[in-house]
């Protein structure tokens, strides 16, 4: 029996019949496997979840062993962790950062606040559902989730990328851009920043 992550993809590439069975082509499958093993996370924290991230990235939990590394700028990042509640002011910056990231890009939403507002359900300037404004790939619930939960989220995301079992968020964002922009406009009014679409045509 083969261990997970050690499939001989050369065999898969040679055997075309086997490759056609899934939704991915053989080469795409290989690319996705490599992609899942190297995830660069934008060093950005909103809300209290940012406290849980340092232990996740440093020696105690050491997430680098599964291929997750922190990077400084959105241009280099693949993954954005929205770690907790988002006020209007923060959300504006989060959207800007997300749009500047190069595709493929994914979002992990950490904590109950991103799911339904959490303890800020009746707050006047905190958004309730993050998925209305940005496409979320993985939700990690809890208030606050421990680093183990975050790591589990990463592993699940790796699985999703590897098997292409779920439509990736950035494709949703590109195809349903109108829906997301309308929701964003509802909050920000006419003061919304111009949308950043260079990446949509493969120019980013």
């Amino acid at each position: 029996m083969q261990e997970e992550g050690f499939i001989d993809y050369q065999k898969v590439l040679n055997n075309e019949e086997h490759a056609i069975k899934g939704t991915q082509s053989a080469i795409q499958k290989a690319v996705d496997w490599f992609r899942s093993k190297s995830m660069f996370v934008l060093a950005y924290g909103t809300g209290c979840g940012a406290i849980e991230m340092p232990p996740t990235f440093t020696s105690r939990y050491d997430i680098e062993r599964i291929g997750v590394v922190g990077v400084a700028t959105p241009r280099q990042a693949d993954i954005l962790i929205v770690s907790g509640y988002c006020s209007y002011k923060t959300l504006k910056r989060v959207i800007r950062s997300y749009e500047q990231m190069n595709e493929p890009k994914y979002i992990i939403a950490l904590g109950s606040c991103t799911i339904n507002g959490g303890m800020y359900w009746d707050s006047y300037n905190t958004i309730k559902r993050l998925e209305d404004y940005l496409p979320v790939d993985i939700y990690v619930n809890g208030c606050m989730p421990r680093p183990e939960a975050l790591i589990e989220g990463f592993v699940k995301l790796q699985k999703n990328i590897r098997e292409a079992s779920k439509e990736a968020g950035y494709i949703k964002y590109r195809e349903n851009n109108k829906f997301y922009k309308e929701n964003q406009k509802k909050i920000f009014g006419e003061n919304i920043e111009p949308s950043y679409e260079a990446d949509f045509n493969g120019m980013g």
Binding site: S87, Y88, K89, K92, I115, N116, G117, W121, D122, S123, Y124, N125, I127, K128, R129, D132, K186, I187, F188, G189, N191
Partner: protein
């Protein structure tokens, strides 16, 4: 220091370290000038505001602290909630740190400070409606209008009812076990 101030003002002693003066709006600048320049209370540590909607006033507390940080002096005054009289002069020239506090009060309560040029967006951006900490602002109505909430699961149950039911079940089980013994 308090003894000297007691000659000029009626000082209420709240505790060993906390003193309070009630003043009228007209005496505001005169009093703060006098205390800020002639006494040991040299730091403005806070400006607090309470909305008394029934009396139609805001009560502002200017809290001053001594150089040694051992005594606090509260200077309380009331201003009307709306109209021309509700404006206050700024304290920027005496205490530069008042800039942020006044800006915050302007954003959360809508109080105007004459002479402060930084009264624009602070923590809230593009806020068009009533300032959120005024009591006539209905937070829940605003939230319900602005956001869609996620519907719960179809099989979700009332937590209180469910815990009662489970406790009753556990009791029954325990009683059965005891009868068997």
């Amino acid at each position: 220091m308090i003894k000297i101030l007691k000659q000029h003002y009626e000082i209420e002693e709240k505790s060993r370290r906390l003193f309070k003066i009630h003043i009228k709006k007209e005496e505001f600048l005169k009093t703060l000038n006098f205390i800020g320049l002639n006494s040991n209370f040299i730091t403005l540590s806070q400006i607090t505001c309470t909305d008394w909607i029934e009396d139609e006033v805001f009560t502002l507390n200017y809290i001053l602290t001594t150089e040694q940080r051992d005594k606090n002096l509260m200077i309380a005054l009331s201003i009307p909630r709306e109209g021309k009289e509700s404006k206050l002069p700024t304290l920027l020239y005496l205490f530069p740190q008042a800039e942020v506090m006044e800006r915050d009060l302007h954003e959360m309560y809508g109080i105007e400070f004459i002479g402060n040029k930084t009264l624009f967006d602070f923590a809230l951006e593009n806020w068009n409606t009533t300032p959120p900490l005024r009591r006539e602002f209905d937070t829940l109505a605003y939230v319900n209008e602005q956001f869609d909430f996620r519907k719960g699961r179809e099989d979700n149950r009332d937590v209180k009812v469910e815990t009662k039911r489970r406790r009753a079940e556990a009791k029954k089980l325990k009683a059965k076990k005891e009868v068997k013994k």
